[in-house]
Amino acid sequence: MLVINGIHKRFNAGTVNEKIALSNLSLTLEEGDFVTLIGGNGAGKSTLLNCVAGVYPIDQGSIIIDDIDVTKLPEHKRSAVIGRVFQDPMMGTAANMGIEENLALAYRRGQFRSLNWGISNKEREVYKQFLSQLDLGLENRLNAKVGLLSGGQRQALTLLMATLKKPKLLLLDEHTAALDPKTAEKVLQLSDKFIKESNLTTLMVTHNMRNAIEHGNRLIMMHEGRVILDINGEEKQHLTVENLLKRFGQASGEEFADDRALLA
């Protein structure tokens, strides 16, 4: 489904601030894989997702989604097959537009934007149905401006927008990190539900080791721009946080540097 071939990403090349964010990284996701991705601060997790989504061009290597080489495609074209939820709840929705308008934009992801009316009545019914699954009462507020919603509501809506038109690949970058624990749990449950229902190939970054262990069928750990652990199947089901920390130490020769993960 997703094939990442030896990609390399350097920021600020040739300056004192030069930073190798991804170094010869290769990774293959099978259809229906739900991969959780962890790693310390600055390990390159967000950069990896951004490179896959086309936010940054890569210096070397190639990215192939469903047998199509997207390495040279601009971000908006890749969006046709990629759904994304960001860490910042403000980032995934248009605050000045209504809930239904945001959903309508997402419903047309990857399509030419014509001069047809932006929302049809038929769609509204579909949106209501989906919104009621969120269980946040949003189905009765189709016209409300998204800017009026709480962070958790916006994140749930963004998740719905990312999956409304089934993506080939779902990228979640710490999408519950900015939420309070209860809301975070709820949004995570919803993610699980949508991913299972549509059998979405997913790459989910989290700083919470327990979440990384409990969700998905495969766990990947990154360190200094490389994949250093890749655990799946039976082995993943028996993982514990201590166990994971130990294996991180063995693989990287360092202690795990992410306060948030250890506290969680």
Partner: protein, 298 residues
């Protein structure tokens, strides 16, 4: 007095078209586009030169609209393709247009006295010159408001709004934000040039200098309209803009009537806009005070 107000209303209707153009960039795209200072004069220059040389005034006005669109396209390409910051891209086009407008007219100003304009056909029906401008202005504004209300409700229009509101989100939803920004600039500057062409015809005079300060007049009209007439929904916003442009013209007519020297007009407008734009800052100063009184987090 009534005469002055009627005059202000008809002029305000013509400026309303420009105000709508400014609104598209400033509010919908979230860009302060200075191209308008050049494209308003460009509209005037194109229409004046064309009519002066015997072209049908309606076709000449349409040509002015196209000219403004071309100016917007240039700014759009400078900004989205050549990655020049929007403000600077607008300034570059504006400066370039000054020379272009001089070339179009061949001199710094052109008089259209005793030459047929789009308003003449209405005057021939027996309307006074001012009423002709008012009727034509009203019909044009109504048509444009209706058209834009429709357009920004379409898929493409929604994509432009999303681009201005949150470009990252727009790209994540597959929208080509560069194209949408350029399209917005094209429509905006087309309207501004159309407005310039009508203003020139109504005053029978085109001047390369006429764009100076027009962005500030546009912003003043946008803000006056929003504050006084509301922003409940998109249609309300559009109508507020029109009323804002008219109100601005009435205010200006009043202060001139009260004896303010015409040379101080631009200073007056700039101060008005500066105060209006800084209102949010004053509000943040007031917020902690209000909070300490009510105990509420706003």
């Amino acid at each position: 007095m009534l005469q002055i107000i009627l005059g202000a209303i008809s002029l305000g209707l013509l400026w309303a078209i420009m105000t709508i153009g400014v609104y598209i960039t400033y509010r919908i795209l979230d860009i302060a586009d200075l191209t308008v200072e050049g494209s308003i004069a460009m509209g005037a220059a194109i229409v004046a030169f064309s009519i002066f040389n015997g072209m049908n005034p309606f076709i000449a006005t349409g040509l002015a609209f196209l000219g403004g669109m071309a100016a917007g396209l240039v700014t759009g390409i400078l900004h989205t393709k050549l990655k020049i910051p929007a403000l600077l891209a607008g300034i570059l086009t504006m400066i370039a247009l000054y020379s272009v407008n001089l070339r179009i007219m061949g001199k710094a100003n052109l008089s259209l006295l005793r030459i047929d304009t789009v308003f003449t056909s209405l005057e021939n029906l027996g309307l006074s010159p001012n009423n002709a401008v008012m009727l034509f202005g009203f019909l044009s504004v109504a048509g444009i408001v209706g058209l834009l209300y429709w357009f920004f409700g379409t898929e493409m229009g929604c994509a432009i709004r999303a681009t201005g509101n949150n470009p990252q989100m727009a790209r994540a939803q597959g929208i080509n934000t560069n194209n949408m920004i350029t399209l917005g600039l094209v429509i905006s500057n087309g309207l501004v040039a159309l407005s310039g062409s009508l203003i020139a015809q109504s005053q029978s005079f085109a001047d390369v200098q006429m764009g100076i300060g027009s962005i500030v007049i546009g912003l003043a009209s946008v803000i006056i309209g929003e504050v006084i007439f509301g922003t409940r929904n998109f249609l309300n916003c559009l109508i507020s803009l029109v009323l804002g442009a008219i109100t601005y013209r009435i205010i200006i007519a009043m202060v001139l009537k009260m004896g303010m020297p015409a040379n101080d007009l631009k200073l007056f407008t700039a101060i008005t806009v500066a105060i209006a734009l800084s209102l949010p800052v004053f509000k943040t100063y007031l917020r902690p005070i209000k909070k300490s009184i009510t105990g509420e987090d706003l």
